[in-house]
């Protein structure tokens, strides 16, 4: 199932080779589009040649349709795709600055690279400018670092904002792109026919355009109708990927390992207790949160868990391990890392800690201190928690 992590599969150098190949594809498509020519890029802003808009939005729509179609039919797990983090206001201000740089210099970073690669001196000068500009930014950042780190949301999609499904959003985006393409064609035609005496008409006559637009609309409808898989369907698609971790019991932790993790200041521990409210009220671990099994199907509940820092660990506690196992499955398919199950819930808890004292004093068994661990032999439990510190970065821009 996609996505693959090429660096994990092929090793560093094999992975880097794939990046070079993808880059070649990127460079070729930019060059073929005419993006190595500053005059054509700048013409976008004088409405005379709209190829920037046409190529960019075609690229976005085609890629989006492929990604979400693949996700809808279960070929790709969208939870594993790294979505650039949103810093809304710094993004908007930075975008405005870049718009100015674009029209003054005639390129953007990627296109200046292609331009310089085809021996265009202006592209090379622009590229040197971007290297220097990146430097100036780093030097000046301390003056406004707070603003730069403000209005942050991780993985916030247009569909979340609109409250629509991904399918509906994508369909609307496709339609919007087609409307813009139509406007772009008509604008260009207006400037072409101006002063030549030719007739400017509303009609699009090019048949391949009509076919292409129909194909995009049809695919968008298809993605919408199939819908993105919910956690239940995702588990049936992805069972083979994760079920080994369950059968080898690699995700079931011993109470002592919980105590060790609980007292480890470097770990951000989230303990979710799935037992009934009554049981929870009678006794629960300090810092644990009482949740219901159906919460694990609710994106509002799950998304913050998938956005824990790299040292985040989620531990599930239930009266019956089958309940916590089900919750574990739902969290895994929704992209939550480092999820573990407290083996047998709290049923072993009292037996493990009964009658134990630290220097003759009893302790609160709802939050055993780390000294408790010294009362047990070193091999009292087999450690299972391996924190995968690999945090998926927000794309290649960082």
């Amino acid at each position: 199932m996609l996505p693959i992590d090429v660096i994990a599969v092929l090793g560093k150098f094999g992975g880097y080779a794939v990046f070079v190949l993808i880059g070649i594809g990127f460079g070729v498509s930019l060059e073929l589009a005419g993006f190595g020519d500053s005059r054509r890029l700048a013409a976008q802003f004088y409405l005379k040649d709209m190829r920037v808009l046409k190529t960019m939005f075609t690229g976005i729509v085609v890629a989006a349709l492929l990604i979400f179609l693949a996700a809808a039919v279960g070929l790709l797990d969208f939870a594993q795709i790294s979505v650039t983090q949103t810093f809304l206001w710094p993004g908007i201000i930075g975008g405005l600055i870049m718009g100015v740089g674009f029209i003054v210099g005639g390129y953007c970073p990627g296109t200046s690279l292609v331009s310089a690669a085809s021996f265009k001196i202006d592209g090379l000068f622009f590229l040197v400018g971007t290297v220097l500009g990146a430097g100036f930014f780093g030097e000046s950042l301390p003056a406004f670092e707070d603003f730069w780190n403000s209005s942050f949301t991780e993985r916030y999609l247009v569909s979340d904002w609109l409250g629509w499904s991904i399918g509906a959003t994508l369909f609307a985006v496709t339609l919007m792109a087609l409307v813009m393409f139509y406007g772009a064609e008509k604008t260009e035609e207006f400037f072409r026919t101006k002063g030549t005496g030719k007739v400017w008409s509303w009609k699009i006559t090019k048949r391949s355009y009509v076919y292409g637009a129909s194909a995009l609309v049809f695919t968008a409808l298809l993605v919408w109708v199939i819908g993105q898989p919910d956690p239940v369907r995702k588990w049936s698609l992805m069972e083979s990927r994760y079920s080994a971790q369950l059968s080898s019991r690699d995700v079931f932790i011993h109470p002592l390992e919980y105590v060790k993790t609980y007292n480890d200041a470097s770990v951000k521990l989230v303990t979710l207790d799935l037992r009934s409210e009554n049981e929870f009220r009678n006794f629960h671990l300090t810092g644990s949160e009482n949740v219901k099994p159906e919460n694990f199907l609710d994106p509002k509940f799950v998304v913050p868990l998938s956005q824990l820092p790299a040292q985040g660990v989620v531990v599930l506690i239930a009266a019956d391990d089958s309940v916590s196992t089900q919750a574990w499955k739902y969290l895994k398919v929704q992209g939550v890392n480092n999820v573990y199950i407290l083996e047998n819930g709290l049923r072993d808890w009292n037996t493990v800690f009964a009658g134990k004292t630290i220097s003759g004093k009893s302790f609160n068994i709802a939050s055993p201190p780390s000294e408790v661990l010294q009362l047990f032999p070193k091999d009292a439990f087999a450690p299972k928690i391996k924190i995968s510190t690999k945090k998926r970065s927000g794309g290649l821009c960082s």
Binding site: P3, R39, A64, T84, G99, A116, F119, T130, G394, L396
Partner: protein
Amino acid sequence: MKIVMKNNPKPYKNPYFAGAILGVVLFSAYALTHSGLGASGAISRIHVAITKLIWQSHVDVISTFAVMGAGDTNPLDHASVFLLIGTFLGGMVSALLNGRLKVEIFKGPQISNVQRLIFALIGGLIMGYGARFARGCTSGQALSGGAVLSLGSWAFMFSVFIGGYAVAYFVRRLWADPKLT
């Protein structure tokens, strides 16, 4: 400067066709590497690598530089740099195959070559600054983020266009009336 054309360059591809190829490349990037395309991160890494050669202690104290090249970290040992190398090669190969690989300066007819190069450098400076500000360039933020429907990327994309259109009128002499075929 008059450039004599030896062989005529082929016309550029239909923009929708080129866009479709771009979309497939972007999808492959996501499918094979989890993340999309980008250029500005690698450009920043080149800057840090150069700074590191002459002034290591400075790289260690500036936060955005330190992330890439503090201490023994090699700022160029990163996937984005290899993507950048590929983009460069791809641009060169495509230009070669289409008869567009030649030394020239693209500019509007009303300005001189020197003026054009000065403005290209200034524009690049502004662009490089803005790209770090926005944490990504047109390809990384707008294209890649747009395709996965990231709200911030869409807001960013529209602000790039707004910034460009807002200033276009004042710099119109730079680009006025080139003969484009």
